[in-house]
């Protein structure tokens, strides 16, 4: 398993660097490519939405309430750290009650 992780990490690192540098080197005079950016934005939205659902451990009421409050915070402040903190705080309070 550790070898799989090492290879995976190396592949992700290489991919990460190449995707940032190579296009910049080859398309130095390219304009922003706005239409494709929109497609990639939609991909990110779709991926995060699916990953959100897949990583909820239990589909109970307490989880739902915690995520609903976190959603309100995310919509208001657009802050990832604060969203996570609020979700955990609401879940903690719910468990105590």
């Amino acid at each position: 398993m550790s070898y799989v992780l090492i290879y995976l990490l190396a592949a992700l690192a290489l991919l990460s660097i190449l995707q940032r540098i190579i296009p910049w080197l080859f398309y130095k005079r390219l304009k922003s490519g706005n239409s494709l950016e929109k497609t990639f934005d939609l991909f990110a939205i779709s991926a995060f939405s699916a990953l959100l659902v897949y990583n909820v451990q239990s589909l109970g009421l307490v989880t739902f309430i915690s995520l609903a409050v976190a959603l309100a915070v995310a919509m208001k402040f657009h802050n990832i750290g604060l969203t996570v903190l609020v979700a955990l705080a609401v879940l903690s309070v719910s468990l105590i009650i």
């Binding site: 190396a10 690192a13 296009p23 959100l52 909820v56 802050n79």
Partner: protein, 229 residues
């Protein structure tokens, strides 16, 4: 010293915004990763070498759902495709970028650094270098703090922390939904993923709601454009 457009307060604000965004997210990533029993060396290596909140979060998602290397590489490739246009866009805004600058800034080019670079075209190259390195160290420091902090937390905290992962995706998702097409994409993908979970489908099914979500969002956009014409 040449600050952003000569305004010292602007660069101080920018540094604070970067720290406010990167430190908590790094801490969340480090602690969630450790809670998911990913060894610390891999966690810190992900932040050091991959340096992409989206890809690293996706990695955690795949790890938790049962890792599938091919799917995560494909997801990472598609998630980072937007970076393809970042450097080119910066290049069009300033004509003083040399190969050495691309080599230095390129690997550290994130959504935030890109946003600052295009929002402040007057930003000097040394300051752009400094800003990208500052963001990078914030991310590494946040990850390290998260890894260490989790060891001092009681077991009940670990159970609570499992909600941090979906909350993290929620925090990443919401700011990206800026119009109806984004909302349609998120709902479609989420509903299909939920159906997949309820039906007990294998983890590799995850790529299906993602792709269907994108296709639905693009189709909705085209239909809306035709109607408006």
């Amino acid at each position: 010293m040449p600050y952003l457009g000569g305004r010292r307060s602007t660069i101080v604000n920018t540094l604070l915004v970067i720290s406010a965004g990167y430190l908590p997210s790094g801490i969340a990533f480090g602690s969630i990763s450790t809670a998911l029993r990913i060894p610390g060396i891999y966690t810190i290596s992900l932040s050091l070498f991959v340096y992409s909140g989206a890809v690293q979060s996706a990695f955690l998602g795949y790890w938790a759902a049962g890792i599938d290397p091919a799917s995560i590489i494909l997801t990472a490739f598609l998630l980072n495709l937007r970076h393809t246009f970042y450097g080119a866009h910066i290049e069009t805004l300033r004509g003083d970028i040399r190969l050495r600058d691309i080599i230095v800034i390129g690997p550290l080019l994130t959504d935030e650094v890109y946003a600052i670079a295009v929002s402040y075209p007057s930003l000097s190259l040394p300051n752009l270098h400094g800003l990208s390195i500052y963001a990078y160290f914030n991310w590494i420091a946040g990850t390290a703090i998260g890894i260490i902090a989790i060891y001092y937390a009681p077991s009940v905290v670990l159970n609570i922390l499992f909600l941090a992962l979906p909350a993290l995706f929620l925090g990443l998702l919401v700011p990206r939904i800026r119009n109806g097409f984004g909302l349609v994409t998120a709902i479609t993908s989420g509903v299909i993923a939920l159906a997949g979970r309820l039906l007990g489908l294998a983890p590799y099914f995850l790529i299906v709601p993602i792709l269907i979500g994108v296709i639905t969002g693009l189709t909705a956009g085209k239909i809306a454009k035709r109607w408006s014409e």
